[in-house]
Chain length 206, copies 2
């Protein structure tokens, strides 16, 4: 028998994914739930499902204004640093590919936190190879080897498959959480519920 | 000196407004915050801000699927009845006008709960005058007099002004909560935060 698991679908350009990524490990450990890290690209889904070529937070001014203020309030309450990125959304393609490289070796969570901190607390350009190389170095990974692997066809294909899989599971925003039983939760504010559901499901009560 | 106040902006066709409307009085009483009831029409805002002529939950299938499941989970957790309306969204014009009529006499909260229960727990057509008349009768209000007033120009104008005011305050969805200091919170899941903010603001700490 395996323990409870929850898939964490996240996009490196997404503000609420930042908050979720910084919280999820402590919360999951406390709940006794294993997290499956699922970086994907939200852009293709927004385009396929809503015909959008930009984030709704840029397209609808009122939504954007509320989101940034809401994010400030949440980060202040949670003690998370926040510096509004000078470019939003940032291109997350390279970071997502690199994150996929780290899944087997297990450094994806550390890299993910580093990328989000760079993007949302330091206003660094996460699409810049030099920045990503530096982040990899800080988590004691062979940056050159990883970047070479991230450039390869297998990883490019893996990210396409991952993004398609998000779509097939009904994902339409980030972060999203998916239990083994297929229960989908959208939004950082649903993280606690999703963890509780994964646990309940694993105990056969859901 | 007045106590803390929070404006509750709601739309009778909105699912998450239903949950908020059923919770807000107990939560506000516990927090010591006065609620200002602000029924408005979301449709004109969705159209003006996003060019939509229908709810995003119908326009984007994935969003709709998640919303209904999320609502089921929330209602189950909160002990609220839920029967998915056979028509969604229902036309909320009459109900919103009637709700405005009741503000001075103070029966708007009771009427609001009755309308939401009819729409989301009993699958009744809240745009039907006979249904609204019945709901008014149940809260011991002179239904004919109220309906006549709801049909008059002053109330029609008042609803237009109210909806315009929502827009001017940056509202783009329902429910929304607005503090006296202009702090805007969107979504039923922000109700606790909004109440806490209103209190803090009133104490001069915000």
């Amino acid at each position: 028998m395996t323990g409870p698991r929850l898939s964490f679908w996240y996009e490196f350009a997404s503000t609420y994914s930042y908050v979720a990524a910084m919280q999820i490990e402590a919360k999951a450990a406390k709940a006794g739930v294993d997290i499956v890290w699922r970086p994907f690209l939200l852009g293709p889904l927004l385009n396929a499902q809503q015909g959008l070529t930009d984030t709704p937070f840029n397209v609808v001014a009122e939504k954007g204004r509320h989101m940034w203020r809401d994010l400030e309030r949440i980060c202040a309450a949670e003690g998370l640093p926040l510096q509004r990125p000078s470019v939003f959304p940032r291109n997350s393609l390279l970071a997502a590919r690199v994150a996929l490289v780290g899944l087997e070796a297990g450094w994806t969570p550390a890299f993910t936190r580093a990328v989000y901190t760079a993007n949302f607390a330091q206003d660094h350009d996460i699409s810049d190879r030099a920045i990503v190389r530096d982040l990899l170095g800080r988590i004691d990974v062979d940056a050159e080897a990883v970047l070479a692997e991230a450039d390869g066809e297998p990883i490019k294909t893996a990210l396409r498959v991952q993004t398609k899989s998000a779509q097939d599971h009904g994902v339409f925003g980030a972060p999203s959480f998916l239990t083994s039983g297929g229960e989908l939760f959208w939004g950082q504010d649903r993280l606690d519920q999703a963890l509780a559901w994964a646990k309940k499901e694993n105990e056969g009560d859901a």
